[in-house]
Amino acid sequence: MELYVLLLFWGMPIVLGFVFGQIAEKRHYRSIHAREKALLHLPTTSGKLPIMGGAPVRCELVTGSVVVSVDHFKRAAAALRAFVGGQVKSYESLLDRAKREAVLRLKESCSGAHEIVNLRLETVPLSKSTQGGIGAVEVLAFGTAIYVA
């Protein structure tokens, strides 16, 4: 009997995390793919100099940031992985989504720009020290938007 209760409390967050995490992830990727296509006209590079030519009339700092949470399924998978080592595959899609979403938000904040240079990404883990707390990650994208005449 106790084990039924234990299994329920143990399995419920993992099952819920898996179901809702997968739904959220699929939906997010659909949105990312569509928006990346729509914003393809705005080049974003990490170099110092513009690549598109034209005379800049205005530059500004632009940012985009996003916070994505781990779900219990990904966390359980990572906990198991941490014991034997190796690639933490369950977190790969999480960070991939966060980085792409941050860049998309940055681009959306300056859709009239000609191009973006000096793109940088910063990743900050949140609630790292909270015991038993579920982890989240913030990704901040920042760069310089260049407007031409």
Binding site: M1, E2, L6, Q22, F73, K74, A77, F83, S90
Partner: protein, 270 residues
């Protein structure tokens, strides 16, 4: 070179594997490993307990034993004295020479238990669930068998092993200990069921030795069977004690094998 905007054909930064594959593979592997390690360390504990001399056991008992409460007086005292007499009459049959003190606890739960130091706690609910002295003697013999088998030391040793393992795993990620918690429970309860069956077997011998027959042996379990039947199906895998029906059958089989007969049971003075 002219810059031509395009999207990469596919994303190599994210695994294409199904997310469950990695999880299930790791979970089953680590669970099997945890069970194996726990099982092997359990065998080690058994080996140590079996080889332990009486002096070591006595000194261990001094450390962990709960102090028995002083005997009650009056009517309650008489009941305890009768139970004590019954236990004392079973001791030589159980081959148990250590201390065994009976204490009565006021509780409707039909149960009895032993604590380190040889105190047998009889819950008053037990006395209403048995009809005869023989039925009560079987339950008390079962508890004596736990003492004779040093089951409390085995349980203690396993507890130490379990905490040790949990601490070891917990030091680099308490999340793993949580993920593997059901496995621990499964391992512990199946072991516990085996010890209960061993105690039942010895109790049957004690009963046959004391009364010359094994009448009344299944009395208590029969009384509990009705309650057991409305438990969830499959829940017996996770219970620390065997299901009543299975225990009763096991007792019948053991009695037949040993050639024990059943005879008239003695009335119980409550």
């Amino acid at each position: 070179m002219k810059y031509a905007p395009s999207l990469p054909p596919d994303n190599d930064n994210v695994t294409r594997e199904h997310p469950l594959k990695d999880f299930l593979l790791l979970l089953s592997g680590l669970a099997a490993l945890a069970l194996l390690v726990f099982f092997l360390l359990g065998l080690l504990v058994d080996a140590v307990v079996d080889r332990m001399g009486p002096e070591t056991e006595a000194s261990l008992t001094r450390i962990i034993a709960a102090r028995a409460e002083s005997p009650p007086s009056g009517k309650e005292g008489e009941r305890v004295a009768r139970l004590q007499q019954l236990v004392d009459s079973l001791r030589s049959c159980a081959g148990f020479t250590g201390p065994a003190t009976v204490r009565l606890t006021d509780s409707a739960v039909p149960n009895a238990m032993v604590v380190p130091g040889g105190t047998i706690y009889v819950f008053s609910g037990l006395l209403t669930h048995v009809q005869s002295e023989n039925g009560l003697a079987f339950v008390l013999a079962h508890e004596l068998a736990h003492l004779a088998h040093r089951d409390h030391l085995r349980a203690l040793g396993r507890g130490v092993v379990l905490y040790g393992l949990a601490a070891l795993i917990g030091s680099d990620g308490s999340a793993l200990a949580g993920v593997l918690a059901p496995v621990q429970q499964l391992g512990t309860t199946s072991y516990s069921r085996a010890r209960e069956s061993a105690a039942d077997a010895l109790a049957l011998q004690v009963l046959a030795c004391r009364y010359g027959h094994v009448g009344g042996a299944t009395e208590f379990f029969e009384a509990l069977r009705a309650r057991d039947e409305d438990a969830l199906p499959g829940s017996h895998y996770f219970m620390s004690h065997p299901v009543m029906g299975a225990r009763i059958d096991a007792i019948h089989v053991a009695a037949r094998k040993a050639g024990y007969t059943t005879g008239a049971v003695l009335a119980l003075t409550r």
